[in-house]
Subunit: 719 residues, 2 copies
């Protein structure tokens, strides 16, 4: 077989991995040759194969292999025997994903950078707007000195790796540049990196003033936008968030856009070096977390074909995290992360799926890990890498978190097999029995509009119904309510084509591009069913008046009157719960519209529906809510019913709102995933509808942190 | 019996409740007469009695009883039949805690204030430093118009309540003024309340300039402290946090102290009215949460005898909370909250112990509630009030969170008994079988110093080893490590006498009062064993050089060198984990001290011990850690062993660090509480040592969220 198809790991535009020419799920595990004792490499790699893995991942730490500047060491000791390790992986027929930095983090001193680099060249460190160093380990990616040193590291290491890629019959199937890009900046300052030299701030012809010149053309138009009086682009300096007004919001967004473009430039440079130095395998990268995925849009565009972005999905790394165990809120993050990656054109991949935790407190329980794994599969994950499968002693005192890098992993630092090993083995057995999941999608009842920019707008967001608020409503209102009501959502890009086969629900922000407003109007004219909350756009994104959508709907712009606590009535419901008084009303519903919900106090209308010729329908809901009450589910049910999606038509539903369920399907095969992500047991009925066929599983009992997988056979579907 | 002893609820200085003359636990449940349908009052009150309750609590909402200004309504409809309700409670022999406001919150519109008040008198609303209204429901407590209206409300309602107090053979045993005082300010602004009229800001002779005059005497000395150039105290305006330097820190602390004194003045006014209008029962109040307890110190001092402060201990109210279920982190908060209340001289009382949640998502499971209840008892709670026991329909559309106020309570809004009812009934049965717990204390292995001011210093904290950092180290370092290592801690006030019978561990801040430094020196001279981390004081609280403690120890002031990642060695351990490089070293240990831990990289010493004549010993640990690794437990064990508390001497210990255990004892009776506050099961051995006797329970299996209660009989103790 291997002779007939291309060895290696590829993916298709539909979001499936192809491994050695077969559609498969990617099962990878982090395995650090420099930590695991060399004499135990083979035994542990075989343990990994026995657990069902088909790939391993490893950092190749710069600080390990260039201990003094210019002195490279690749085979002087077992911990540095990179080639020996790669040869062993090939012999054992395991693919390898290499992560040669420059950064690796990985709880190593200086996050994997050589000590000499950050101590002898402090000018490369990232800075805040005041010019102060933000962290002793955060560099400025485009600083020429950093790039010069990083280039030398790549020149030393990449040619070695290139000899071991699959196209040279080696094990290396993918390469990752850097690690969790941009995290080192926003974790340690509120203002990204403002290193003046690297960013060209204040410099004639520097990158930042050039960026502004490209955006504004003349300093006059910048001054008009900023309400400022600058004499030149070189005088403009970055500011700290938060934005206290619209002009500050604009300034902050400009710097964010510039910063993202700088990160993309850095990614391009590294990837250029990888190719130039001989790496011909796919290039990957890991977004630090679900909320960072969309900060990689510029990088996706810059790198194009042959690049794949994944994301890291931890649920707890220390007491600074929100939860000790995976929860529905974690599952929500996994859902939209996987959806974002799918929409970017990638098989959703979790490059760091917890294999444990760097912390022994809070402890990571095998059952919690299991729930996290199945939840990720339920919600779209097509490839994963346990961080970590096994560790060992940090060589040369290079660990920042203790002598041993154990990570409470399935195979301990000392090499003992832990209970979580069996979890992984069983999970892989399940995946390999159901390899068709590699091509499966999640069945959906309705679409939820994804505005990419909204998902990364919190940095510059100002008050009012901002993009950031719209994204918050999407997550904590629409999506949580949907999962709590068993209405399966699917994200669609607002920048793409809008399908009209299912209702589309959308969190609206006040400053919406004219083109998007026009697209929504066209959607309604084409027969689309549109649910809008909590307001209607009144300007375009520059703040210029633009009410294309409201005009088409015939509606005034809804407003929020915070003086009076409303008394909301709707259908058969009284006193609709809406925390924080986030209610938007118009004095009366548009001409031709039917009022659905009103404020008993002042007669204002917060919910109405209106039909259009051609079958289109708009439903407006003036609520900016956070899911907390079952009534929110009743509201959603009511609105989607008005759009042709009554509760009885849901593809999968539970009788217990605490239990979430999703249905994945690939042609004839389907599987229901039923999730109880709580510390308490739960019981539920589950009803599945495929086409005209309905099947109910009654009285399912779920233990704390249990995910049930129910195969739905064709016979069931036909029954 | 009732004739021989005083009917009612009292408490003693040792922190025990006395109910009708007997030492008892207070079991109270929130029961809103205005929500529960009148025809169902009796049935539900009897359900409460059957569940083992001895008291109920209810708000008496201002907005309900004064719907228009000056129009009071107390009996025109069932929802307002306050007296009928009180008469029924007396007939059923239930004590009542009344909470007549002004505020009640309770998910009512305007937080329980009349709509006319906040809409017609906007001048009473709280303001930020810019003079902007912070929230439509947050008033300025001392605004004369607010006080005038509140006084009229009290004049209307208090005489009614006073007729029903225990001294008039009525049911009312306690009265609460207002609700979760100060929460309405810090929840909605970062700068407390700066209403200029109410606070007298900028006014000649106003409260704020008068406060400053009292503190600084002359404007010159204020200018010296603030590095400012004000011409008069009236020119000084409050600023926003955070403090970016020491002078801003001082300014912010001044305003915080002033604000707390204003809140105390408000409390005094309300309590004066209560007494004046006839209420002779004890007055209570509920701190909004464990972290707010110490903001009530001025109030405690102002109200003196006859006043009791409790705290509210929720673990989840909506998705904005950290966890869906109670966790060890929650238990930690309960521990220090109860300890603070005990040290204030009160029986630790949780006036809002979750009976459910206002949110249906995240759901509250009966098993989670049970774990929360037993954890609170384990950690010192002597009285509690379920918020809520039962609810009903919000009258007159007054609810802000839906038509029904159900709260997922043990008895639903509609009156149905839920599974959590049985949890409460069983819990009370346990408490009544073990009423001796009313007088029990927690057995302790060592003391942890509590600096009150540190616990409320985050508002004004500046960088460096601030008081806020010291409190963080106390919580997340010392206490979490102690519980994870089964070293039972007990808080002692640094402002009080320091007992020398056990080691005292203390998180040190850089600016420590001379008197406290002297007290610590005296403690060492008196034979005390003192563990200090992570630094030593170098100034007093005003910033003036003061190294009394370091001088006595013979130590230089430890410093933090962030340039180099340290390599920490200690005893048999290498590469001590210390996240965030928070390590403080001296070049060499003091003369006569023994080095315990050092930085392999630069030779700096971060841990040493030194003995003093008279048996005193000081151990210094230059780590500012957050508990995450078992090595932290090894370090703590090592240090306490050096102070005469080896692991074998722990009063109770578990073999599984995920399982916490505490031992409560009252003379001859003792009980071990073993806590598994995770979504996963756990197994552990528990060893208990009382005096010379040791008893081990082997292989205890705990389900997710299970708290085991193991009676330790005298026979066991003698065994």
């Amino acid at each position: 077989m291997e002779n007939q198809v291309q060895r290696g790991i590829r993916w298709d535009a539909a979001g499936a991995y192809w491994i050695n020419g077969e559609k498969k799920l990617l099962c990878c595990g982090e395995f650090h040759y420099f930590r695991v004792p060399r004499q135990d490499w083979e035994r542990r790699l075989l343990l990994w194969k026995k657990a069902g893995g088909n790939c391993i991942a490893t950092y190749v730490p710069w600080e390990l292999h260039e201990p003094q500047e210019g002195s490279f060491a690749f085979s002087d000791c077992p911990a540095r025997d990179l080639e020996g390790f790669l040869q062993l992986c090939r012999r054992l027929d395991l693919f390898v994903l290499v992560r040669p930095g420059p950064y690796q983090y990985s709880e190593m001193k200086y996050s994997g950078l050589p000590e000499w680099l950050v101590t002898e060249y402090p000018q490369i460190l990232a800075r805040n707007p005041e010019g102060e160093i933000v962290n002793e380990i955060s560099v400025s990616y485009l600083h020429p000195v950093f790039l010069e040193k990083a280039r030398r590291w790549y020149e030393a290491v990449i040619p070695i790796l290139a000899r071991y890629t699959v196209d040279h019959d080696g094990p290396i199937a993918m390469v990752q540049f850097d690690n969790e890009l941009m995290g080192i900046h926003y974790w340690f300052t509120d203002a990204y990196d403002c290193n003046r030299q690297a960013m060209g701030i204040g410099e004639p012809g520097g990158a930042w003033p050039s960026f502004l010149r490209e955006r504004y053309d003349t300093i006059g138009s910048l001054n008009a936008a900023y309400e400022s009086g600058y004499g030149s682009f070189e005088e403009v300096f970055p500011i700290h968030p938060p934005a206290r007004c619209a002009t500050q919001s604009r300034r902050l967004k400009d710097y964010q856009d510039f910063y993202f473009s700088a990160a993309a430039r850095y990614a391009q440079i590294l990837c250029g070096w990888l190719r130039e130095l001989g790496m011909q395998v796919p290039i990957v990268h890991n977004s630090p977390n679900p909320n960072a995925n969309s900060t990689f849009l510029e990088i996706r565009d810059a790198l194009g074909e042959g690049f794949l972005l994944g994301s890291d999905h931890y649920y707890n790394l220390n007491i600074g995290w929100e939860q000790n165990n995976p929860t529905p809120q974690y599952a929500l993050r996994c859902f939209y992360s996987n959806e974002m990656l799918r929409l970017m054109g990638y098989p959703p991949t979790v490059f760091e799926l917890p294999g444990g935790s760097p912390s022994e407190f809070p402890p990571i329980a095998p059952g919690d890990l299991k729930a996290a794994y199945y939840a990720n599969t339920a919600l779209g994950m097509k490839g994963h890498n346990y961080y970590i499968f096994t560790g060992g002693e940090n060589p040369f005192h290079l660990g920042s978190n203790g002598r041993y890098y154990d990570f409470c992993a399935p195979v301990s630092a000392a090499g003992e097999v832990r209970p979580s090993y069996e979890i992984i083995r069983e999970y892989h057995a399940f995946l390999h029995e159901n390899e068709w999941l590699a091509g499966a999608g999640m069945e959906a009842d309705f679409y939820v509009g994804l505005d990419w920019e909204s998902t990364r707008s919190s940095f510059y967001s100002a008050s009012g119904v901002s993009r950031a608020k719209a994204w918050e409503l999407t997550r904590n209102g629409i999506l949580l309510t949907a999962f709590g009501t068993s209405y399966s959502p699917q994200l669609v890009e607002l920048s793409g084509e809008l399908p009209t086969d299912k209702p589309l629900m959308l969190a609206v922000f006040s400053g919406m591009e004219r083109s998007l407003q026009e697209k929504l109007v066209a959607f309604l004219k084409a027969g689309g069913k549109l649910v809008l909350a909590p307001t209607l756009p009144q300007t375009d994104e520059t703040g210029a008046p633009c009410t294309v959508l409201a005009d088409f709907l015939g509606s005034k712009i809804p407003t929020n009157d915070r003086r009076y606590a409303p008394v909301l009535m709707m259908d058969a419901m009284q006193d609709i719960p809406c925390s924080k008084s986030r209610v938007y009303t118009v004095e009366e519903a548009p001409l031709g519209a039917r009022t659905i919900g009103w404020d008993e106090k002042n007669g204002g209308v917060f919910c109405w529906e209106k039909a259009f010729p051609g079958g289109g329908k708009a439903v407006f809901l003036g609520l900016d809510w956070e899911y907390c009450k079952l009534e929110h589910g009743e509201i959603l049910t009511g609105l989607l019913s008005r759009c042709g999606k009554p509760a009885a038509s849901r593809c999968i539903s539970t009788s217990n709102p605490s239990v979430w369920a999703v249905l994945r399907r690939d042609g004839e095969k389907a599987m229901a995933f039923v999730l109880n992500l709580y510390s308490a047991p739960n019981e539920t009925d589950v009803t599945i509808t495929v086409g005209a066929n309905t099947r109910t599983f009654s009285g399912l009992k779920l233990q704390p942190m249990e995910v049930l997988c129910l195969p739905v056979t064709l016979a069931d579907q036909d029954a």
